[in-house]
């Protein structure tokens, strides 16, 4: 049986009831309808109304993203790419598989799919975290209102235990399959055949890192350095450093002397930021970091670790360039590998095919363009300033999601 999380009219339904003949006959909503835009705007308002909402930074980010002005900008930018002899329409039924613990991320792809007019069935994990529970509460509140009836008829957030039958029926009947949850989930769900015309949007296991120009960094005044630490904190510590876009490596570029000094200052200011936020590791995370440090130490003959383990400090291990890609496993929770490079050109040769977000400080757009050209498709999906690593963009993992979620029709 399927548990309905939103709408909640009937708490438990069978797959036949969910994918009823009525639903399969339901028309798609128009692309970028006022109704969909307003629904997301209302959801945004509801989130902002929560007292102490700043305790849920991930929700705040989501609320900003789905408010009307941002959505309008996204639509405007996307529409610029479409010529007058092309028309954008929905694709039909979208089946989303959400990751279990990065609670809010699937909301973004769901919001985009809803905007373009698709019908959506979203399977989320069995364990609903507190942020997600709050979101579901709001979505249900809205769905109770008459004015969102057309949204309610076309959007279903559900959960069920791992069930091959449900997965296979949904796969066979959807027009789009959106697979969060990494390689394992992708491979598992791909076993269930979909229609030949079904469009699949897989989000594979990804890896992200940061690059800092040491001279530019050292030239900053104290205030700007502190600001950068705050921004890096958000990138690294939300989702306990376990989102695909969370930085796990930090590259410093420049002379050895400058790199050493920049590194020292950077980690010290991050530590200060942890203290200011009264952020400390739980016992479980502290143990994970200790074990991970010992694992690294047992296999490396070139690492440097001088800072000591503490629950109020980031754990930082220095690895030479030649070995850095051996350490792509990470326990999260504030465990970083740092690596000194002479210049950003050295990074190009280190890029791997599943690299996602490169967050940077101190590089001009033209330098970054050169870097991307040099990598030439080998990896890296996004290049963004430090502080924006987790900021969702309709261009994600190398796709324009709005293009993927819609059908583009030529009218000549």
């Amino acid at each position: 049986m399927i548990t309905m999380l939103a709408p909640k009219d009937k708490p438990l339904i069978s797959i036949d009831e969910l994918l009823s003949p009525d639903l399969l006959k339901t028309e798609n909503l128009p692309t970028f309808s006022e109704l969909s835009i307003n629904f997301l705007a209302q959801l945004s308002n509801k989130i902002f109304e929560v007292k102490h909402i700043t305790n849920f930074p991930e929700l705040v980010a989501l609320a900003y993203w789905i408010r009307k002005t941002n959505i309008s900008t996204i639509i405007k930018n996307f529409s610029k790419e479409i010529s007058s002899s092309e028309i954008i329409t929905p694709r039909g039924v979208a089946f989303h598989i959400a990751p279990s613990n990065v609670d809010s991320i699937f909301l973004y792809s769901w919001a985009l799919s809803l905007l373009v007019g698709n019908i959506n069935i979203v399977r989320i994990s069995q364990n609903v975290g507190s942020q997600l529970a709050l979101l579901l509460l709001f979505i249900n509140d809205l769905m109770k209102e008459e004015q969102w009836n057309e949204i309610k008829k076309r959007n279903f957030i559900v959960t069920y235990p791992h069930d091959d039958q449900i997965n296979s029926v949904l796969s066979a009947n959807c027009d789009i399959r959106i697979l969060w949850g990494g390689d394992e989930t992708i491979n598992k769900i791909r076993k269930f055949p979909s229609k030949a015309t079904t469009k699949e949007i897989p989000f594979a296991d990804k890896f992200s890192y940061t690059i800092i120009d040491s001279s530019k960094y050292l030239a900053l005044n104290d205030y700007r350095k502190e600001q950068l630490a705050k921004q890096f904190y958000n990138d690294a510590y939300w989702f306990d450093q376990m989102a695909c876009s969370s930085p796990r490596f930090v590259y410093f570029t420049g002379s050895k002397k400058k790199n050493t000094l920049a590194s020292k200052t950077f980690w010290f200011l991050l530590e200060t930021e942890l203290v200011n936020r009264e952020k400390s590791d739980s016992m479980g995370i502290a143990m994970n970091k200790l074990v991970h440090l010992y694992e690294t130490a047992s296999t490396s003959n070139s690492m440097q670790f001088t800072t000591g383990l503490s629950i109020i400090k980031p754990t930082v291990v220095r690895i030479p360039k030649i070995d850095i890609n051996k350490f792509r496993d990470n326990c999260g929770g504030g465990f970083f590998y740092e690596c000194f490079l002479e210049s950003i050109d050295n990074l190009a040769e280190l890029v791997q095919s599943n690299d996602q977000t490169l967050s940077y400080f101190g590089f001009s757009k033209s330098k970054l363009k050169n870097f991307i050209k040099k990598v030439n498709g080998k990896g890296v999906d996004r290049v963004v300033p430090i502080g924006q690593a987790l900021q969702f963009d309709q261009i994600w993992d190398g796709y324009s999601l709005l293009s993927e979620l819609t059908r583009k029709i030529a009218l000549r």
Partner: protein, 368 residues
């Protein structure tokens, strides 16, 4: 005579802490050096973390530890493969990484000797008729054995006329059990099993099927962690009083031990305190910075043992939480450190994009 021989020669729990500490420190100094020279991953750890091997350590808390979880991900041994007598594994399920502990002859002999000294100091030297609350299928393969099997084999040495009371499907062999008790019930019987299994497959089953017998002179020894029993609100106290009131068994001993340090087990005395045997010690560490905590404060348990010769398991950081009650002063009269266990570190919630199908395996943590 080597310090380890002195630790074996003396009666268990008889050496005052100060003296025992000296012997342990001497032995651990040479073990640390030995493993450093013979186990490359261990050498890497010490070198990379800036831990000097040649420093002569004076205190038991000066020795470097390695986290037990490392035995699940790395091959860590200090002997060539050709010297491996048998490999012990923790009792994980297939989907879980298991610890892999390589034993040579020397370590294996020390383990058996240690266990004999500890157990006999509690139950005497006479072999008793023995009921094992488990299935004998678990011990069929002798060269590779999991913690549960190793525990059963180790403890079965203390009994005779063994009855494995469960079949391979964990059903109680009711007729054999009744027959066994009828035959031997007039003398003390030794009962051994894992805590959860004794409760679930023996006590609960006997109650359900109305199998009742009175064996007040018997001894029950059990181990394996409380996680599952705590879930159903069975504490050590409840466990003891339930078994006593149903079977009349008064002498019930729990012990704490792990597959990574077989042999040096920590037995619970009549007062419910766990005791360090001659050849082992525990230290409580603070997870904030991994420094040593004073007596009485709750923290992560580090266990030291002089038995491991074939792998650097002489100083391990466990994932168990506990606190030291005192030293040399337990009312039971046993010397050495005595302590309590309060549970296990809660696994950090893994957040991430790639975890939709990660499933939690509720594995019974067993130890021998």
């Amino acid at each position: 005579m080597q310090p380890i021989d002195k630790l074996f020669q003396a009666e268990q729990y008889s050496i005052p802490q100060v003296k025992r500490d000296k012997l342990l420190v001497a032995e651990l100094n040479s073990l640390t050096k030995f493993h450093y020279n013979n186990c490359p991953p261990y050498k890497n750890i010490l070198d990379n973390l800036g831990i000097k091997v040649n420093r002569r350590r004076l205190n038991i808390s000066d020795f470097p530890f390695i986290p037990v979880r490392l035995f699940k991900t790395q091959k860590i041994q200090s002997i060539p493969d050709s010297d491996v007598l048998k490999v012990l594994t923790s009792s994980g399920t297939t989907s879980q990484a298991v610890s892999r502990i390589a034993l040579n002859r020397e370590t294996s002999i020390y383990q058996v000797k240690a266990l004999v000294q500890i157990i006999t100091s509690f139950i005497g030297h006479k072999r008793l008729p023995m009921i094992i609350i488990d299935t004998d299928t678990i011990i069929k393969n002798k060269s590779s054995m999991n913690a549960r099997g190793a525990g059963l084999v180790g403890l079965s040495n203390f009994g005779r006329n063994h009855l494995y009371a469960l079949d391979e499907n964990m059903n109680l062999k009711k007729d054999e059990l009744t027959e066994f008790v009828n035959k031997f019930g007039n003398e003390p019987i030794l009962i051994f099993g894992f805590t959860y299994m004794i409760w679930q497959y023996f006590y609960e089953e006997c109650k359900k099927n109305n199998i009742k017998f009175d064996i007040p002179n018997s001894i029950l020894i059990h181990s394996g962690g409380w996680k599952k029993l705590i879930e159903i609100s069975v504490s050590n106290k409840v466990f003891k009083s339930s078994l006593e009131s149903y079977f009349g068994i008064k002498r019930i001993y729990n012990f704490y031990g792990m597959v990574e340090q077989v042999g040096s087990i920590y037995m619970e005395c009549e007062y419910g305190h766990l005791h360090t045997p001659n050849f082992a010690e525990i230290i409580i560490r603070d997870y904030h910075d991994w420094k040593v905590l004073p007596y009485g404060e709750k923290g992560i348990i580090q266990t030291l043992s002089v038995l491991p010769r074939s792998y650097p398991g002489h100083s391990l950081l466990t994932e168990d939480i506990g606190h030291v009650l005192g030293v040399d002063s337990c009312p039971c009269g046993r010397k050495g450190t005595y302590f309590l266990i309060e549970g296990r570190i809660a696994k950090a919630e893994i957040r991430g994009c790639s975890d939709t199908h990660a499933e939690t395996v509720n594995n019974m943590e067993l130890a021998g």
